[in-house]
Point group: C2
Chain length 207, copies 2
């Protein structure tokens, strides 16, 4: 007797991977929050029972940690790539805010979780997250300070402009819809222009 269906039949045991668990967690954490999501919901979304999840993760907390680690690393890597080789503060700010805005249109779930569920992270990871955020914030602030000193930006308090630009970009994750009228790159383009305006960019071509 030969098996008739080499491909899995309609009813078969579900098989799951670590990535699938992480992706389901990402979706549900973004929607209901870390504490608002039960492991049973993640299991249900994957078609398995709750205990089966433990073959692919160590704990619920570890899922959150993985999401946060991945995302913050990505943000810093984006920044480096975007500003590497650029010396003009205007071009550096334009490029840094463009990739930051773009990321928040294309990685919405990650951004929502990282920015909403920070407090649910156990130590020492919560402190590590804050440190990495600060690193990005200070790097952006430095660009603004450099631009002010060079006379191409005009702001009273560089820290305020830095906060404003960052959070404005982060918030894209909250309102952006994939079926909306503008694609991610066009949103990012406009937000990058907003960033230069916030910085008080005096160069005509910039705005």
């Amino acid at each position: 007797m030969v098996k008739v269906t080499p491909v899995p039949a309609a009813e078969t045991r579900a098989t799951v991977t670590s990535d699938a668990v992480l992706d389901a967690a990402l979706t549900l954490f973004a929607r209901f929050g870390y504490h608002g999501t039960a492991l049973s919901q993640i299991a249900e979304m994957l078609g398995v029972r709750t205990p089966s999840l433990y073959n692919h993760m160590r704990s619920k907390q570890e899922l959150l940690r993985s999401i946060v680690d991945r995302t913050t690393s990505g943000v810093l890597a984006d920044f480096q790539t975007a500003t590497d080789g650029l010396t003009d503060p205007v071009e550096r700010l334009r490029s840094a805010s463009l990739v930051y805005a773009l990321r928040h249109a294309t990685h919405r779930r990650e951004a929502i979780v990282v920015n909403r569920d920070t407090a649910s992270l156990d130590e020492p990871h919560r402190t590590e997250l804050q440190d990495r955020r600060r690193e990005h914030e200070h790097a952006l602030r430095q660009i603004i300070s450099d631009g002010v000193e060079a006379g191409v930006f005009q702001v009273d308090t560089p820290a305020l402009a830095s906060f404003a630009i960052r959070e404005m970009c982060v918030s894209i994750a909250r309102w952006f819809r994939e079926d909306g009228p503008l694609p991610p790159d066009q949103v990012a383009e406009q937000y990058s222009r907003f960033a230069l305006r916030i910085a008080g960019c005096t160069r005509d071509s910039a705005t």
Copy 2:
């Protein structure tokens, strides 16, 4: 025998009010999130046992609802007061963004809860909240559209500028510290200027 101490001694039964419960909930929801806060924590902060809370509220959900209702009403009232009688789009945007920014520096806990724990609100209140938010967003967007039509603002997509301005202001609640270098009104002042810049305000005095 006469009572020796007419004023409460050091050890006395705690007495609590509805406002005190709401205030404690506000503090803890802002810190740990709605699902991350247990009623036992609220009770502990007030020095009573959990069941005693039910003399001052109907449910945990009602606490969230009260916080949200109060805050959204305040936002819309602020907007009306700030823009009433003003016809110039520049002045309207300056004033609307000023009070919005100021509110988020002075009502941080409320802003954090309303913007983070929306998903934890039961229907029909979640829909009501979204409606009120949309109302404020559209009012701000209309100012920008009016300004573009009048030739005093320059933006490609008024909706994007409106989102950017709103979320930039909301985020003040996340980074502002009362013991920081700038008082709320000075932060609001600078953010109001950022708002005019985002709108591409062409009037010199504005920025």
